[in-house]
Symmetry: C2
Subunit: 335 residues, 2 copies
C-alpha cells in the first residue's frame, strides 16, 4: 500500500517549508515566490503524484464544496432528471452532490439531513416530505443554507423553487372543460403537502368557475406509495359512477402510468370516451396510442435556479428567494 503523499513529503523532498508548498500549489502570493522554488515544488508534486487531501483542507477552511440533495427517491425519473441537472450545475462551480432518498418518510428525511450536516455540507437542496416542518425550522434556526424544490410549505419562510400547482391544475381542468368534458375527475395523492393540495384546489376551482357542483366525489385520493391495484380501484370507481367521468386529471406521472395501463385494458377510446391529462413529462406514456397531454414542469429551469439560489446563499447572500414557475400545458392526443 503506497502511502499518500502530503504537503510535508513534498516540502521534505524539495527542502522547503510546507507553507511554501501550499502557497505555490494554490497559486497564492503570486510574484512573491522565486521561479526556482515554484518550479521545483511543482515538479516534485507532479512526480510524486500529489493530490490534495480535501478533508484536511475542509477542516481548516470550513468549506467542503459539497451540497446535499434530499429527494423522495432517486429511482423516480422526475427526481433523477432533477438530480442530473443539479449535478451538472454544481459541477460548473466545483461542487459535488451527495444524494439521499427519503421515501417520503419524515424520520428517514431527518436522518439524511443530519448525516449530511455531520459531513459538513455547505448547503442543501431539498424536496421536502410531509411532516418535516420542524426539521426545516431547525435548519433555519441554525442558519444552514438550503433551498426547497418542487415541494414547499407556505408557513415556512425559506428559499424555494416550485411549480405554481394551483394554476397548472386550473389550466389543465379548464382545458378538459373546453374540449367538452362534462364529468371531470381527478386521481391524486392523499397528502397535506402543499403542492399536492394546490393541485386539488386548482382542479376544484376550475370546476366551480364552470358551475359544476358535487365535485368532491369525483376527486379520488390514493396513498403516496400507491401500487397498481389501488390506482385501478380509484379509476374503476370513477368510471362506474352514475355519471361516469369523461375526463381525468392525474396528480402525478406515476399515477398516470398506472392508470393508463389499466385504462388500456378497457373497452374505452381515449380521448373520445375519456380524455386524460397528467402532471409531468414521462416517455413511458409516449407509446400509448393516444400520447398523453401533460403539464410540463420546466425541470431544467427549476434545478438551475435552485442551485443558483443555494450557491448564492452559501456565498453569504442572506435574502430569501421564492420562485413560482409556470407549468406549460403540452397538448397531445389524449385531451
Amino acid at each position: 500500500m503506497k502511502k499518500k503523499v502530503s504537503l510535508k513529503d513534498i516540502a521534505n523532498r524539495v527542502g522547503v517549508s510546507t507553507a511554501l508548498v501550499s502557497y505555490v500549489l494554490n497559486n497564492k502570493k503570486e510574484g512573491r515566490i522565486s521561479e526556482e522554488s515554484a518550479r521545483k515544488i511543482r515538479e516534485a508534486a507532479r512526480e510524486m503524484n500529489y493530490r490534495t487531501n480535501q478533508i484536511a483542507r475542509s477542516l481548516k477552511t470550513n468549506k467542503t464544496f459539497t451540497i446535499g440533495l434530499v429527494i423522495a427517491d432517486i429511482s423516480n425519473p422526475f427526481f433523477s432528471r432533477l438530480a442530473r441537472i443539479i449535478e451538472d450545475e454544481a459541477e460548473l462551480k466545483n461542487y459535488t452532490v451527495i444524494i439521499g432518498s427519503s421515501d417520503e418518510k419524515p424520520e428517514k428525511f431527518c436522518k439524511l439531513v443530519d448525516t449530511f450536516l455531520d459531513k459538513q455540507v455547505d448547503g442543501l437542496i431539498i424536496a421536502a416530505t410531509d411532516g418535516t416542518e420542524s426539521c426545516l425550522n431547525e435548519l433555519i434556526e441554525n442558519n444552514i443554507p438550503f433551498v426547497l424544490v418542487d415541494r414547499y410549505f407556505p408557513a415556512i419562510h425559506a428559499n424555494y423553487v416550485a411549480l405554481d400547482n394551483f394554476k397548472a391544475a386550473f389550466t389543465a381542468t379548464q382545458h378538459l372543460i373546453s374540449i367538452g368534458c362534462n364529468n371531470i375527475g381527478m386521481v391524486t395523492y392523499e397528502s397535506p403537502l402543499f403542492n399536492l393540495t394546490e393541485r386539488k384546489k386548482g382542479f376544484l376551482a376550475a370546476l366551480k368557475e364552470n358551475g359544476n357542483r358535487n365535485n368532491r366525489s369525483r376527486l379520488k385520493e390514493v396513498s403516496l406509495k400507491a401500487r397498481q391495484d389501488e390506482v385501478e380501484k380509484a379509476v374503476a370507481n370513477l368510471l362506474s359512477a352514475a355519471q361516469p367521468v369523461d375526463g381525468l386529471l392525474f396528480g402525478s406521472n406515476t399515477i398516470a402510468v398506472q392508470a393508463v395501463k389499466y385504462i388500456n385494458t378497457l373497452p374505452l377510446r381515449v380521448p373520445k370516451d375519456l380524455a386524460l391529462i397528467c402532471f409531468d413529462e414521462t416517455d413511458s406514456l409516449d407509446l400509448f396510442y393516444a400520447p398523453l397531454t401533460y403539464i410540463r414542469q420546466p425541470l431544467e429551469d427549476m434545478a438551475r435556479q435552485a442551485t443558483a439560489i443555494l450557491l448564492d446563499r452559501i456565498d453569504k447572500n442572506n435574502k430569501i428567494t421564492q420562485v413560482n414557475i409556470e407549468g406549460e400545458l403540452i397538448i397531445r392526443k389524449s385531451a
Copy 2:
C-alpha cells in the same frame, strides 16, 4: 450565526478534558468512566445540541464512510435504479454515496474519480466507460478499493459484477429463431466496451449456429449518444433491405424506446411482421400494444453484490471477486 458546538465546548461546560468527552460519546473505555461524568457529558451534549464533525473525525481516522458511484448518467433509469439500491445497501452499513455522471466521456470519468479520491472516499463503484483503462489501472496501482458494475474489461484484473452479455444475447437471438424469424437484425451501440461487444458476439454466434450467413449487414450500430433520428435511420435501413428483417434485437432499452416509437408509426404489426426483444426492463414500453419481451438484468442482485464486495474490500479483504450474472428472458407479446 450560532457557532457550531465542539467537543471542547462540552468539555469546558462540564469541566473535563475533551478526551473524556470523546470517550463518553463514542462509548469507548466502557466501565472505566464514572457514571457521574458520563451522565453530565451526555446531558451537556444533548442540551448544547452537539453533532460530531465528521470532517475532523475523518481526518484523524482516515475513514470517511463515503463511497463514490461513477455511472454514465444518473437520469438514465437503468443507472438511477442501480444507484437507489446501492444507496440503500450502503446506508445499512452507515455509508453515504456520492454520485457522478461521466456521460461516457473518459475525461469526465477520470475527473470524477479524481474528485472523489480527493474527497477521500473509502471506495468506488464504477460503471466504466470506453477509454478508461489507464484510469482504472492507476486505481489498482494505488490500491484503491473499487468494484466495476455492468461494464468491465477482461484485460483488467479487478472486482466486477456484470451480466453474462454473450449468453443473454445468444439466448434472445435463439428465441427469435425459435419463433420463426428468418431475417434477424440487431441495433446496438458502436463501442468497444466489452459488455457491448459481447452482446454482438452472442447475437452473431446464435445466428451462425443456425447456419445464417451474411450477418454483419444486419447488425446496425449507432453512436453511444444516438438521438431519435439516428436510431430511426438504422431501423429503416434494416426494414428496407432486399430481405427485410422480421426480428430485431435492441442493445439497450434506450435504443428500444426510440426504435419502438418509430416502428409504432409504421404500417407493421408486432410481432406478426416484426418481432422485438430488448435488453433491460423499462416501463416505457409497457403501454406499447405489444409489450416488449426483454432480457432482465437482475439489478437488485448486481447492486447488492457490488456493494457487498466493495465494503468487504474496504475492510481489507484483498481477494478479487468477479461475478457473472445470468440474465433472464422475460417473454411478453413482442416476440
